[in-house]
Symmetry: C3
């Protein structure tokens, strides 16, 4: 009769397995108030009922990242309770607005499994979908996470690595909901900058900064009913020589709120492509951020357009200190204290949407040692990583085959981390890869 | 014209006195959101409106302990502002669900008074009842608290010590509200463990743990409009060599939320019998807990049954380190850092209720010195305690008469503490009691 | 295309300029719950829907200072982002109650501008008005703030200093909304003290005290969408040798909540005349307060009257340690750790309103150095301050002309600070002023 609540391990997942996460969650004005209190969110569409009606909505929708974080939190107990590390996200699509009183139900399908060659863990790829009480899809995303095996000797099937889109294409972005009335947003915010006023390559320095308090991130993460222990169990974290980590989704919410200044006429986040948390945030750290316009996306609508943005956040440094990667520079480039994210913000007049991209592969330095311990004996994987990345670069980072397995940008990011960890732990990296990727 | 707001002292209470506490309080979805943010509560019935309807409710009720803490907070300014220590609770009965928009009005009747023999303080026994805006009882409890006298020389009447039930009997437990539809809860939680799947003596280790932050407990306690100074006045606490105490009701709420894992199909708390806070919690402490099934209670309903549970929480230790008392071991047994509580959780299929028991007599170590100071000159009380407990044990812990006063489990707990304090402060304890109760 | 979000500087303001602040804000029950959690507010009118109806209201209104802080927060990005210091408030009038679901839109008119003689900054005087979704005025106030110039060489127009009322006159105080049913409040609070039970000169010591946590004030200030960096950017504050300041409006809210004990039958704040934050509050400080009745104001209504109160808060000291200024003592008198505020609280039977006065001129010690730096080269201003204050005292603190400029109590407070800063920084103050105002 023992109630085992130790969560799923790598060998518990099967391709095609579907999980309905416990339990559906009704979001209310109370959740919005707490979200505003936790982040300082000030978007025009969500701040006042009168604003929403004036902009052509029946009611003011809930904040996009409140919805994302709530839906994501639901998946934690089933997917990532035994995670080594959260490796990445892709194709986060905000399909419908969510309103107070709506109930989100979240379902996840396992779409990929790849045991690590050390046989101690593996990567689980899932596609999660949140639907409202009418069964309508409101949000979906792909995520991959490295999960411990319970039994290192357990046999696992052949690797299946799904392909994901590096950028959600324009035709998959939401464009309904936005009538000509959205142009009245400029009268609300007092700023006239619209879609045509943003230029590709333009940099926006957001003036604010936000110190994260202990209770801030704990309240946020509990509000999302996210049970990941790294955020809550200070005793265990301290015993292991660390401290409680701030949930990355809270940092994204804070950055989004800070980014209001300069993106005032943005209406909604349409998508998040990817990003990474390259350093952990702890209570007491101060977050600042800056945004770069990567692309302007025509949604084929008269009054709204989309901006493809990259947002970089830093801790305990000024937003002005942020260096954006050069255009065309494809591999992850960021100093040690940078939180990278690509977010597409939008605006009004001809084009007033906002969408965002975060492709997270989330390796906290504090997480490296267990990962390294899990992998170090397996020199093979470092060799594979080197081989795959060299081949990938030769293919201009398009999809490749390597030892009979398909690889694309999703897995490149993973192997990139493998190389970095190999370097960090003093392992020998094959020459070609070392020269190409690890030389300063 | 001086406005004296120094609160009630022992001699201000009279048997039969009724106090309507200021003021009624309307609870809303906003209070629920904050409660979720503060505790991470995830019960199926309260998390989604769709869940509640599917389970046969018209709306989703508010979380049980949000209701309890709110009602309890109302009584603090009148009952325990001048408390030496919170000695105990009994017969906490959750009679009706409370819904957002409901208003709680709380009334207390003084049902017992017993001056301490040192004449510096006394024990006040009260029965408090919370009713909704329709006058319907939603919650009631008995509590006893040691309160200072304003004037040590004041004459007080004869002692009246009410008897309380050690365990709320099955026939007094709520059983309405639960139709056959409650069986659908297993589809929401993803766990199939129902009433018949729990066995007497079974132990459930809850995997989570929660570090308590300064703002967490302050926000919670203010939300309940609880004005007890020990939780808020850091300046005074520090001046007295201590620090702010976390409100015990917040710890119970956190433990209840952690206990979701393993008790997923529990529907409601039906009762709390008793328990104790044997050590104070301070900001920064991490709470973990485990639960033991003491008894399975048949409610005479086809679809729901009750579980009588004991929950023990610890701080800064793993839940696995918790040692439950042996069956039949009646006297309070807990290591120094254990928070003991008995909670009955339930589940679905034949029997899906949940109720709980907490008989708190709440002696924080930091509170012992003032208590000891108040009592030490009075060796008589130690002698009485010894005499009462020896007689009680001989009567197999049933009710006894001692020097013309009736005593039962409610007062045994108090005298148990008297003996412990006598030992802690180096007083001589009568041999028989010392041998029976204080020898290791 | 650079998006400049550096905020308004002194030379950007023009007399008569009107600013509609971004963006309107809908307040809900969720905001109220968080407000109660942040402050412990317990006013009868706002705590229960049943209370409000019994007192003759259709619904329970939102807490007065939740409304004030929200409306005030809206003005920060446009008015005080580049502030040297927040100098003062006057004529804060609570004109209509605000209910959950109401939307506040805030507009500000620039009514005065006075460049400092050092030409590095200037004082901006504004009148702000908050209206609900029906366009009805709910709150208005005058504020003056010292703002940096972007370009020290920029030419500014002639000084215009508006006159303000030291005390909002009785005829401008709200008196509607209060029917004979308000007398039922005594049954809710359990206290019988009404308007006629308060005497001029009476002192009320509020028994509570509240330690301010990091997250408490951050959550509050973000809830109000107030973006002032001093409250959020711990990194910058630390880099400058300081630490994050607690938003003064949160301290006022906490004091108001503590003042419940002794002013239980107060219904509403009608006005705030002024006050000052004479010392900064940091996380970890404990706030206590006391109130003095300055005046009883007959509103010409049978069931309600107003009390003109002065509230003084202290940090890390007992409320009993507070020394109120002697009657008729007009100049600001407060020990170094006193937060001064005048609040008028009221009650029921013949007269049951409450209104308050805060005339803040808000110089935090940590803000003195930048102010001094901005002014020290300009000895002229110290001479002016001395001359103005000597003349003002001779005129019994009535309005005066000095070098062709009109001055009244509003500016006297400012020049008082100039003299204090001159003394603090070791500058020579003209003899007469030194003798009158700075000698101990």
């Amino acid at each position: 009769m023992k109630k085992d609540r130790s969560g799923n391990y790598f060998e518990d997942f099967r391709i095609g397995m579907k999980i309905s996460h416990a339990t559906p969650r009704t979001l209310t004005e109370g959740d919005r108030s707490l979200y505003i209190g936790l982040t300082g969110s000030r978007t025009a569409l969500c701040t006042a009922e009168t604003n929403a009606r004036q902009l052509g909505f029946e009611h003011r929708p809930l904040e996009d990242l409140l919805v994302f974080n709530t839906a994501f939190g639901k998946t934690v107990p089933d997917i990532s309770l035994n995670a080594v590390a959260n490796l990445g996200y892709a194709e986060v699509r905000f399909v419908s607005h969510v309103y107070p009183g709506d109930t989100l139900a979240v379902e996840t399908e396992v779409i990929g499994l790849k045991e690590n060659s050390n046989r101690k863990s593996g990567v689980v790829y899932v596609r999660s979908t949140a639907r409202n009480q009418h069964g309508r899809e409101v949000l979906s995303w792909v995520r991959w996470v490295m999960v411990h095996k319970r039994d290192h000797g357990a046999a696992c099937g052949e690797a299946v690595v799904p392909s994901t889109q590096a950028v959600v294409p324009a035709e998959r972005l939401r464009r309904s909901d936005y009538t000509a009335r959205v142009r009245e947003i400029t009268g609300m915010t007092g700023y006239s900058d619209l879609w045509e006023d943003y230029g590709v390559g333009e940099r926006i320095d957001h003036p604010g900064a936000m110190t994260i308090n202990d209770s801030d991130h704990s309240l946020a993460t509990r509000l999302y009913q996210n049970t990941a222990r790294a955020h809550f169990d200070g005793h265990a974290m301290t015993a292991n020589g660390g401290q409680r980590l701030v949930y990355g989704g809270h940092i994204i919410s804070v950055c989004r709120a800070l980014a209001y200044d300069g993106l005032e006429n943005g209406l909604s986040i349409l998508a998040i492509n990817g990003g990474s948390h390259v350093n952990p945030t702890y209570a007491g750290d101060t977050i600042a951020c800056a945004t770069q316009v990567l692309e302007k996306v025509d949604l084929g609508r008269e009054h709204v357009g989309a901006l493809h943005l990259r947002m970089i956040g830093v801790k305990n440094a000024s937003g002005a200190s942020i260096a954006f990667p050069e255009p065309g520079e494809d591999r992850p480039v960021h100093p040690s204290n940078v939180v990278l994210a690509e977010v597409i913000a939008g605006d009004a007049r001809r084009a007033r949407n906002e969408f965002g991209f975060l492709r997270m592969w989330s390796i906290y330095p504090a997480q490296i040692q267990p990962i390294v311990n899990a992998m170090r004996p397996d020199f093979t994987e470092v060799e594979d990583a080197a081989g795959i990345l060299v081949a990938a670069q030769d293919a201009d980072w398009g999809p490749i085959q390597y030892k009979g397995e398909l690889h694309d940008r999703a897995t490149y990011r993973y192997f990139w981390e493998v190389l970095q960890k190999a370097k960090v732990t003093g392992m020998t990296v094959p020459d070609e890869a070392d020269r190409r990727f690890l030389a300063n």
